[in-house]
Assembly symmetry: C2
Homo-oligomer: 344 residues x 2
DNA sequence: GATAAATATGTAAACGCTTACATTTATTTA
DNA sequence: TAAATAAATGTAAGCGTTTACATATTTATC
């Protein structure tokens, strides 16, 4: 069943059916009525594929995040969803699973699908291939906006956060609580948040004159397991740290998991400050101190940027080119709930 | 840039380019080489839209879940993703946000997009419109498979779980722990899990000869807030329950949130058993007793069913029609960690 | 009531691929 | 070496829409 069949039954041309379906151009009220009735009776649903091909645009917006199980990203997705309501665009979610190659495949796939735009949180900042692919997208008039994670030398629009200042504040809180030996579990240092949070940690140590060995820096990968392994290693050091700063929520969880297994008690033998909220813990009143941010805001802002780019593009390719790149940084919030200090 | 341009530059016809790109038919090795080189140089990416239109199939599979922030569903999504790797199909995630109308819109949208199949967890069991839409999809040769939640009188393929037995076991555990007054916070009774879990609760009470008033049954909606409100109401009763059974993870969290705020202690003043795992609590060793299930298994099974249907369809429309409907039920697991009992 | 303007509808090209069928060229086979 | 087969390529229709342009009809204007 296609528009042709409907036209036939209604005794009109396909052009008229198309106009009736799209509320475009002139169609006599009764003709429209008749057509819609036939559409209804036959459960006709027009093909977005054919429409996209004809219009040379799909109205779909791709979203690529590294990890759908991370509440930060699912919350972000919800924000994106909310913001897109009523615009007529659809969102297509994809997850790169923290894998560079998969990310590359997905970008390619999304390009094949001829999306109207792409929002992405890249797996790694130094992924040259992804960078090239994204820049190509833009050349082909598919606007891109980054979120949370950046891509080196790409100068793409995006909404990030002040990771360095956030991590600095977190570590500072530990220092002020009296800690001298503070370990960190980093994210992949190839990712913007991973690197900047480490930098924040280093800066805090330096400014407060703490000189610590490199053993106190454990490389993680933003996943639970690496948090678990990380703190295990830290606590096995000859002079273990008395506090640990973790670079994201999942690794914080990994730490908590290990601490629980190994019967360490937060606030007694060890202190902890983590990056990003863990909603569940907040709800049950678990006293975890964290660096947080307004995820919804971040989502709204990046969606606004992308929609603006798409709109400009619709008007005129040139006006998009003239537009100034927008790279926003949202602030952090330090939320102290007790886990940063040891009981005296 | 399209296949035409490539053909031009390569000095061949578009058919040859198409064959080179799809590894189909005969193409001389050097010709292919030449074509691929030109494709490469020009960063040409073929249009999936045009391909879909031409082939009359997209190779995209839609997935509609009610809540992306619920870890159960994000875990399910991961399982679906894993299972689809290597099949050549793509997944498109959409969330209905527990709203019936939105679900309907999404089904329509997915139909417009001419997906090759749909996996869905319906918001409500009694949604006649969604049912009609899904049955229509099947008539139009778009296979559907349900997951976790059912649709009344639809007899669609799907993978569910033994909610009744699970809830029964959970409540039974509370009874065996000595509780006589047990409240429940239900899901929407219009959803299969919501209804069946309530039935399991009622059955357990009956079999153990406990007669409780209707005040002990609080209607929730599978969201955090309703858990919070629910247990608040229960504890405000003249003779409040000593234990509560919650019908899903988010409502359990809502309960925990209230208990924390109101300074109730699990195991002292109140006992709790909830449906579905809460990973975070498990990791930190929080002694919450739950009814769980193998989410990955559920995802794998439903994907297998859908892929099988798609495959049959490819072979021959008739063989799909002849196929027997597959409705699987996966078992529950009762995991007792202590929250079911009160300290004596 | 003639003319202009607004409304309604139709025709056909275009979007960018795939693929059945036709044709040409190279390789086997007898 | 002619005939048969396999390999390589091309031609053109088709997928289901949208939309520019053309044409027909109605309504407004003087």
């Amino acid at each position: 069943m296609n528009i042709q069949d409907i036209a036939q039954k209604a005794g009109t041309s396909i052009a008229t059916v198309s106009r009736a379906l799209n509320n475009s151009g002139y169609v006599k009220a009764e003709t429209k009525q008749r057509i819609l009735k036939i559409v209804e009776e036959n459960n006709f649903v027009p093909s977005a594929i054919a429409r996209s091909l004809s219009r040379s645009e799909t109205g779909n917006i791709g979203v690529i995040v590294p990890d759908i199980e991370n509440p930060f990203f699912s919350k972000l997705i919800v924000a994106l969803e909310e913001r897109i309501q009523g615009t007529g665009y659809n969102l297509i979610f994809l997850t790169s699973d923290e894998q560079r190659e998969k990310e590359q495949r997905l970008i390619n796939m999304i390009e094949q699908q001829r999306v109207s735009g792409l929002i992405m949180a890249p797996v790694a900042e130094d992924n040259k291939i992804s960078r090239r692919l994204l820049l190509q997208l833009e050349e082909k008039n598919i606007p891109v906006a980054l979120v949370d994670r950046d891509l080196l030398d790409s100068n793409l629009d995006g909404v990030f956060m002040d990771n360095l200042a956030g991590a600095y504040a977190g570590v500072e809180a530990l220092i002020k609580a009296g800690h001298q030996r503070i370990g960190i579990i980093t994210g992949p240092i190839t990712s913007k948040p991973g690197k900047e949070r480490l930098d924040g940690y280093l800066k805090a140590l330096q400014e407060y004159g703490l000189k610590l060995g490199r053993d106190y820096i454990i490389k993680g990968d933003f996943k639970i397991q690496s948090g678990y392994e990380g703190i295990k290693k830290l606590l096995a050091l000859p002079t273990p740290p008395t506090a640990v700063f973790t670079s994201n929520n999942l690794m914080t969880l990994g730490c908590l998991n290990y601490l629980n297994e190994a019967k360490y008690q937060i606030g007694r033998q060890i202190s902890l400050v983590g990056f990003d909220e863990i909603e569940v813990l907040k709800l049950i009143g678990y006293p975890l101190s964290i660096i947080d941010r307004d995820v919804s805001l971040q989502g709204n802002l990046v969606m606004d940027i992308l929609l603006e780019k798409i709109r400009l593009l619709g008007k005129d390719k040139k006006s998009l080119a003239r537009r100034e790149v927008k790279r926003l940084t949202i602030p952090y919030q330090l939320i102290l709930r007790g886990s940063e200090k040891l009981e005296s």
